[in-house]
């Protein structure tokens, strides 16, 4: 709960409790939208179902525009927003591992727990793999900490890298998103599947 815990209006425990409630809501919505089916995520790769792409991109666009307008009205201080640190090498390597895992497993971490909670065995196997991966990473930390921490770039924003204002980048992202949605809908028509 962003501003509430940063400004210490609520305690860490209350924050965790709220996260728990929000998490249940998130899981419920994911399940109800059919995200607990591995075919839904795999569909993005094969082009027959791009709902996942649309949902997450819409969420990102909504949050982006919301934050920028809130900042414009003086309701939120963007400097207080936590930005993930950029470790370039691990971002690229991790992104590739994650992507391959998405296609192979048909789940992302969130949806795998959704699937497991309604008794899907493939989702439970996926969670098993997830924990094996965590174990390998943690126990072998000494082997890859050099790569893990390589190319630290600080906390850059795309707008700073490109030298544009936040608003212009936001507008470009809106256009990119609409373009991707359009391509997604085209792919759904091009590679339809009757039942999945």
């Amino acid at each position: 709960m962003g501003p509430l815990s940063v400004n210490e209006l609520i305690s860490n425990n209350t924050n965790l409790f709220l996260a728990f409630i929000i998490g249940i809501g998130f899981g419920f919505v994911l399940e109800q939208s059919g995200f607990s089916s591995s075919r839904k995520l795999a569909g993005v790769f094969y082009g027959y179902d791009t709902v996942v792409l649309k949902v997450f991109f819409t969420a990102a666009i909504t949050a982006m525009l919301g934050l920028l307008f809130f900042s414009l009205f003086g309701w939120i201080d963007l400097n207080l927003i936590y930005i993930n640190p950029t470790y370039l090498t691990s971002a690229i390597v991790g992104g590739m591992i994650m992507g391959v895992g998405f296609i192979m497993g048909g789940f992302c971490p969130g949806t795998s727990f959704c699937g497991a909670s309604i008794g899907k065995i493939d989702a439970m196997v996926f969670i098993g793999g997830l924990f094996i991966g965590i174990l390998i990473f943690a126990l072998g930390y000494k082997i890859w900490d050099g790569m893990y921490l390589a190319n630290f770039l600080g906390f850059p924003k795309i707008s700073q890298v490109l030298g544009l204002s936040d608003g212009v980048v936001a507008f470009l992202m809106v256009i990119v998103a609409l373009g991707m949605f359009w391509v997604g809908e085209w792919a759904e028509k091009k590679f339809p599947r009757e039942e999945y």
């Binding site: 924050n15 525009l65 969130g110 630290f152 600080g154 608003g167 212009v168 936001a170 809106v174 609409l178």
Partner: protein, 209 residues
């Protein structure tokens, strides 16, 4: 109307508006005296020796130790990886890039905290971010990390956890059984490293799908 068109009708104008308006820069660049006093009172600038020891041992690339004592003292002893910016030269142009950036976390230290705090206040007043102060300075560093005192047997568990962490961090950083005076020669952090127990650290929330 198709959902995609509906979405486009909503978000394209919003995107155009946000691209056209100037960014909100109403937040003052420099701190007022009130804000500075507030920050100093809440002691937000202090980083505990445990956190710093943990970062040194893990070779965390996201921080930079800055020794604000004079050059002689710096050459006699400094923490691993520290650079020297004497507080008298703080405003020199050649250090601006180091002090005024938002990539790394700068941690000032001096023998006590007075000099380091001076450096912090000056940079904070200038509106620079990411500058912090090692709590207790080098004196407390020797006491807490390099020569930790065993807590009384009636102490709570957290005290013992803290002591264990300090002991293992101290050994990794070349302290341990040598007296504080002799520790001035211990520049080498390459000594055998025992396993470090993680210091209790505030975690920041991270999102994900």
């Amino acid at each position: 109307m198709k959902p995609l068109q509906l979405l486009a009708i909503f978000i394209i104008p919003l995107g155009l508006i946000i691209a056209a308006v100037p960014q909100n820069k109403t937040k003052p660049y420099k701190l007022t005296a009130d804000q500075l006093l507030g920050e100093a009172n809440t002691r937000t600038q202090f980083i505990t020796p445990e956190t710093v020891a943990d970062m040194i041992v893990k070779k965390d690339p996201s921080f930079q130790l800055i020794d604000v004592r004079n050059q002689d003292d710096f050459e006699k002893f400094s923490l691993p990886g520290a650079i020297n910016i004497p507080v008298a030269d703080l405003l020199s142009d050649k250090y601006t890039d180091i002090l005024n950036q938002d990539a790394k976390m700068n941690i000032f230290y001096s023998n006590g905290t007075v000099t380091a705090n001076e450096a912090w206040m000056v940079t904070r007043q200038l509106g620079y971010k990411n500058n912090f102060v090692l709590e207790g300075g080098l004196n407390y560093w020797f006491e807490a990390i390099l020569n930790p005192q065993k807590p009384a047997s009636t102490s709570p568990d957290e005290e013992f956890a803290k002591y264990d962490f300090r002991l293992s961090a101290g050994k990794a950083l070349g302290g341990g059984d040598m007296p504080a005076q002799a520790a001035t020669q211990t520049q080498s952090a390459e000594t055998a490293k025992p396993a470090i127990m993680p210091a209790p650290k505030k975690k920041r929330a991270a999102g994900g799908c």
